[in-house]
């Protein structure tokens, strides 16, 4: 098994003392970010990215990916203890987690959440370890047309799988593409969309946009909802841990199913949030105690947490193997790769073995470290929310501003960040999804380039996108995804009509 040999080599990199230290720092920072409203995985990583340039790429990605794992863990703490989802993917955890905490079973709910997060992530890492080299090997045969087709499929699946209105998803995505195009055109050297502004010559950096869209908008939303933090005691003792583990053994099937849902939704770019809701819904429907969900069933914590973590982790698979991220945070990490001078895509597995396998090994270790840290340190993390919100809000604003500034050392970017903050706030409230915008912004240049290269090869003929069975089948899959909402709507109208007819006396 070449994968195992490579993985062990990866462990030797990840186990280096300075990498272990970065891992721990990353997890602690990540949990903090996950606990604080207004700072999430995507913009937490975005803010810290410019500080990682002095590190080696593999150390940098270990630090940043551990922040991501930490944020995934952290979201559960506030959901269960405060009924405030620190992250969108932990909304489903509040449904049963908070009622459990209200009944004095917070320790069990937290243990169940952390354990199932850990198991979900572990399943996803196993998938990454063994599947991504295959995908990458396969993708090595890709030319520009195939790459464009894969991007097309990724974006089309966004439209097809998103819970938002398809045209809203589409609009958000297209705005991302347009923003990506601003600045210097790398092919012809022309300036595009700058309208004479020297500040716009740099283009819209995705980090600035992410910090605004996710960070600033979150503060605005938090203040609007008038947060009052009334938390439950979150101490976990060993007895509760053992008792919860014993109980979780009974729910093996739910864990396995949720992990599968999560892995699937993470690899296709649906993301952790829909995965957690879907897994919760399935667990509720299939459970004999379905009616008691929402009033404090432990399964209601296990299912969404397993799926969210599995999805969040497996979102890195397409990022590593194809250079197409499965989630906004993965998109930010991908942007990091480019900034560190690495070329994302299948060649990573050939040219940057140390980097890839160091990262994969760090996923195993990072999740073990994270699991232990959160189990021990929950009360301290929960205490952070007792800091008055005005201080937290001011602090987050300052951190976001510094983060936006350091990307290009440009104060103008702070203004841009605020503008995107307002835009993000409005978009969120109108149910426009933000993830497609970020993904299109990160991938816009590469999508356009592969599109132009492909057309260059075919001398302008679109038949190149259907020239061989491989590219044609990817394109067709993309079109199926694109028109899926339409098909689903027609079908539901028909069956809905049939049902109404059947119900009529």
């Amino acid at each position: 098994m070449t994968e195992l040999a490579a993985l062990f080599h990866g462990f030797s990199i990840a186990l280096a003392p300075h990498n272990l230290l970065l891992m721990t720092i990353g997890i602690v920072l990540g949990v903090l970010i996950g606990v604080l409203p207004g700072l999430g995985g995507a913009n937490g990583v975005a803010i810290l990215l410019p500080l990682t340039f002095t590190l080696e790429p593999v150390s940098a990605i270990i630090l940043l990916s551990c922040i991501y794992w930490g944020a995934l863990f952290g979201g559960a703490i506030t959901s269960i203890l405060f009924n405030i989802p620190g992250e969108p993917w932990s909304v489903a955890t509040t449904f049963d987690g908070y009622p459990l905490a209200q009944r004095g079973r917070a320790a069990e709910a937290l243990t169940a959440a952390f354990t199932s997060s850990f198991l979900g992530a572990f399943a996803a890492i196993l998938v990454i370890t063994f599947v991504s080299p295959l995908v990458a090997g396969f993708a090595l045969k890709f030319g520009p047309a195939e790459f464009f087709a894969v991007m097309f499929l990724a974006f089309a699946s966004f439209i097809g799988l998103s819970s938002a209105a398809p045209f809203k998803t589409m609009a958000a995505m297209l705005v991302g593409f347009l923003l990506a195009g601003v600045g210097l055109d790398t092919v012809t050297g022309q300036l595009r969309g700058t309208f004479g502004s020297t500040e716009l010559m740099r283009g819209f950096h995705f980090l600035v946009v992410v910090i605004g869209l996710f960070g600033i908008s979150e503060i605005l939303q938090s203040i609007e909802e008038g947060l009052s933090f009334k938390g439950r005691d979150g101490r976990i003792d060993l007895k509760a841990v053992v008792r919860t583990w014993a109980e979780m053994l009974k729910h093996k099937a739910i864990i396995l199913r949720s992990a599968l849902i999560g892995c699937w939704m993470g690899i296709t770019p649906a993301g952790a949030t829909p995965a957690s809701f879907m897994s919760y819904g399935v667990a509720k429907r299939l459970s004999p105690h379905g009616a008691e969900f929402g009033r404090g069933r432990i399964e209601g914590v296990i299912a969404p947490e397993t799926a969210a973590h599995a999805a969040g982790t497996s979102a890195l698979l397409p990022m590593l193997a194809l250079g197409i991220p499965g989630s906004p945070t993965a998109a930010v990490l991908l942007g990091g790769l480019i900034m560190w001078g690495l070329q994302p895509g299948p060649m990573l597995f050939v040219e940057q073995k140390d980097f890839v396998w160091g990262l994969i090994a760090s996923m195993y270790l990072g999740n073990v470290v994270g699991f232990l840290i959160v189990l021990v340190a929950v009360p301290w993390f929960a205490a952070i929310l007792r800091i008055p919100f005005p201080i937290i809000a001011a602090l987050i604003l300052v951190v976001c501003a510094i983060g936006a500034y350091t990307v290009n050392n440009a104060a103008f970017d702070i203004v841009l960040m605020l503008i995107f903050g307002v835009l993000g706030y409005v978009m969120k409230k109108l149910d426009y999804p933000l993830a497609p915008l970020v993904l299109a912004l990160v991938l816009g240049d590469r999508t356009e380039q592969s599109f132009r290269q492909a057309l260059l090869m075919s001398e302008g003929s679109f038949t190149i996108f259907f020239a061989n069975p491989l590219v044609a089948s990817i394109m067709i899959a993309g079109f199926v995804m694109l028109f899926w909402p339409l098909v689903a709507r027609l079908r539901s109208r028909r069956t809905g009509g049939a049902r109404a007819a059947a119900q009529a006396p």
Binding site: L174, G181, T188, G193, P390, A393, Y405
Partner: protein
């Protein structure tokens, strides 16, 4: 969705839907114009620089049009985007944030940040100056040491830092 407690009036959801669709459509139109200027046709060596933005712009205008019509058609019985009461809360954060962003150009990030923390703690949190000043000072000093000295990342500075010799 959380219930809109109190404050019956505000900005309607429909108005915001329409405005955002118009904003995106305007962005699409800009892209079309820009794409036309750069050339949206075919050069001897492939698509011109304006080709991609041009078509993305057309798609964006089309998608926004659908969103606009959807919003127009849907009757949401005056569902609120935000009530005036809540908008006031949001503005309490947003207005200082904008002033903060502009102030950074003139006084640098450290002084502006200290002022922001002070303002938030006094105005929103109701802390006394004796509580707020130490917190603001501590945060700014911490930021200074972390960024300027530890990570060697220079942040924008103003006259105060210059007077201190940085």
């Amino acid at each position: 969705m959380p219930q809109f407690a109190g404050g019956g009036s505000g900005i309607s959801q429909k108005l915001m839907e329409l405005l955002l669709a118009l904003l995106f459509a305007a962005g699409g139109v800009l892209a079309i114009v820009e794409g036309q200027r750069l050339g949206n046709g075919w050069d001897f060596d492939g698509p011109q620089a304006g080709y991609f933005p041009f078509w993305i712009g057309i798609l964006l205008v089309a998608a926004s049009l659908v969103n606009f019509l959807n919003a127009l058609r849907r009757n949401r019985d005056g569902q609120l985007f935000v009530s005036w009461q809540r908008l006031f809360l949001v503005l309490q954060v947003l207005v200082p944030a904008v002033i903060y962003g502009v102030a950074i150009f003139y006084v640098g990030i450290y002084v502006a940040s200290a002022a922001l923390v002070l303002w938030f703690m006094r105005g929103l949190g109701g802390f006394s100056l004796r509580q707020a000043v130490p917190v603001a000072a501590a945060l700014v000093l911490l930021a200074f040491f972390v960024f300027e000295i530890w990570f060697l990342v220079p942040l924008p500075k103003g006259p105060v830092e210059q007077a201190l010799g940085f």
